[in-house]
Amino acid sequence: MERRIAVMARRSFRWLAVLLGALLLYGARPAMAADRLVLIASINAPVSSLNSLEIQKLFLGLTVVINGLDVHPLRNESDEAMRQLFYQDVISMSESTYERRLLALTLQQGRTAPPVFRDSRALLNAIAADPHAISYAWASEVARDGRIRILKFLGSE
């Protein structure tokens, strides 16, 4: 009898652990979803801010000059949510429209498309090493990185 009670208690404990784990995971999701997309540059970059038109021009591969220096974009595709927010909050175009615009600008003006990074750590290293580079990342990823400066919070809360 005691043994049966012990087995039942162990099973209940397991279920409780699974439930707790699930709750923790569920709890973590809103925290990630609540994270903000931020426009970033190197701490050594001579850039303090960019307006919406400059950001759009930049990520279309057009020339943007800030304080007399050319800046260039790096695209961050380290996760799917960021990819979608880029189209919605950064470039303000659908993915297919953006692709067509990039193709058209290559065909019309000989422009090259912004380089794409799939690994956020590599992207942050590239940004830190290049004071001309501009990109975007989750605020939580760059908050404790002393090499990176946040230029602007993108999109809505």
Binding site: L53, Q56, K57, L60, L62, T63, V64, V65, D70, H72, L74, S96, E99, R100, R101, L103, A104, T106, L107, Q108, Q109, G110, R111, T112, A113, P115, V116, F117, R118, D119, A122, L123, N125, A126, A129, D130, H132, A133
Partner: protein, 409 residues
């Protein structure tokens, strides 16, 4: 180190023991410059294909992820616009088979940017022709103002400045007849070799203005139509100066809506004696004034242009003037499931009375109605079905076309 030896067979090389004309040695002693036209084009094409492959490999490497990109490193782009077409015509196709309707076309575009320096090229290969369409070297002297030298598409064409040879980027299969390339029986010169300045300047917070002007060697009139300056077989052949330009307003600097005015002046010597007799002219001077609008609003798009073409057919001691108006409007509507429906009307006034059109461009569409449906599928691929009914000087024609187009990779 491994060495690889490659033996190239020269079609001009004589076989052992055969009679060798003295001109062979003279040609080969002169090397590339002294080659025959065909041999030179073949060699240049081989070099270009090699160059494109190298650029493609370089572009692939440059596009690989997780690399550091700085202004001191060049960035590059390589895109292959590919298309395949099946069609049915109610009347036989023109004696001058149009490359526009080639069964398979590949258009390789490459761009290399290093700081403000630009190198850009476009090479088209089809079962009808192969041609270096554009080769430009440029310098962005101030942001969004580029000075180009080379062979370029003249900016007074509304359609071609937007779509160039990238068939995937134009919703319709066919381009309007007034916008056809020289080697497709086009009536307006589209390629100029010389200097082009292309500038976009912001106005206010969001709008902009585009000013483009180009000048250089233009086209000559031949029996098959217009012939542009060929960079792979560079002979001036008495070509004269062409001047062309546009001024346009962009309500949204980074958007696709644009309204503008166009102008061009072309002085075209008639190089073919028989054509000169038919035209009763040894020189054609063409002045073009036009207006255009590319308008986008949500799922709707409109592409419209109107050209006033005035010509002087000149002979020593006499000249004859003629003019006509031609234009088109294409309306597109995006539908669910990545479908796009479109309709286009092309029309002209007095073109049928033009000797220049009758003699040299009998396939020019005096009037044409077009209806089509495009389906975009996968990434950068589309299938389009199009029906047209057109009237030309030569014949009335119904045509049905089915096309696959893509931008690769």
């Amino acid at each position: 180190m491994t060495r690889v030896m490659v033996t190239l067979t020269n079609p001009d090389q004589p076989l052992a023991g055969s009679y060798v004309p003295s001109t062979f040695y003279r040609r080969n002693a002169l090397g590339f410059i002294g080659m025959t036209t065909i041999a030179r084009r073949r060699s240049t094409s081989a070099i270009l294909v090699g160059l494109l492959c190298a650029v493609a490999a370089f572009a692939d490497e440059a596009d690989s992820y997780n690399h550091v990109h700085t202004d001191s490193h060049p960035s590059s782009e390589f895109v292959l616009f590919a298309s395949a077409e099946a069609h049915s015509f109610s009347t036989p196709a023109s004696a001058n088979q149009l490359n526009e309707d080639a069964n398979a076309i590949g258009d390789a575009v490459f761009a290399i940017n290093r700081g403000r320096f630009r190198l850009f090229g476009e090479y088209q290969l089809s079962n009808q022709e192969h041609d270096l369409e554009r080769m430009q070297v440029g310098m962005e002297v101030v942001p969004d103002t580029v000075v180009w030298i080379g062979r370029f598409h003249q900016p007074a064409s509304a359609w071609n400045t937007e779509h160039h040879h990238g068939r995937y980027l134009q919703t319709a299969i066919t381009r309007p007849s007034i916008e056809l390339w020289e080697d497709e029986q086009g009536i307006i010169p589209q390629h100029i070799s010389g200097l082009l300045v292309d500038s976009r300047r912001p106005i206010g917070t969001n709008a902009g203005i585009q000013i483009s002007a180009g000048a250089g060697l233009g086209t000559v009139v031949e029996s098959t139509g217009l012939a542009e300056f060929d960079l792979l077989n560079p002979h001036t052949d008495g070509r004269r100066l062409s001047i062309t330009g546009r001024i346009a307003y962009l309500p949204d600097y980074v958007g696709t809506t644009i309204f503008g005015l166009l102008f061009a002046h072309n002085d075209m010597p008639v190089r073919d004696g028989h054509t000169a007799v038919l035209l009763q002219a040894n020189d054609v001077r063409q002045d073009l004034y036009g207006a255009f609008a590319d308008w986008t609003d949500g799922p709707w798009q409109l592409h419209a242009a109107l050209y006033d073409v005035a010509m002087e057919l000149q002979n020593p001691g006499s000249s004859r003037a003629e003019s006509f108006v031609a234009g088109y409007a294409q309306l597109e509507r995006q539908l669910p499931h990545r479908l796009t429906a479109y309709v286009r009307e092309e029309n002209s006034s007095d073109a049928a009375r033009s000797v220049y059109v009758q003699v040299n461009h009998p396939d020019f569409q005096l009037r044409r109605a077009t209806l089509g449906l495009r389906w975009d599928f996968r990434r950068r691929q589309a299938v389009t079905a199009e029906f047209t009914h057109g009237d030309s000087v030569r014949a009335d024609q119904d045509a049905f076309r089915l096309q696959w187009s893509a931008a690769l990779p």
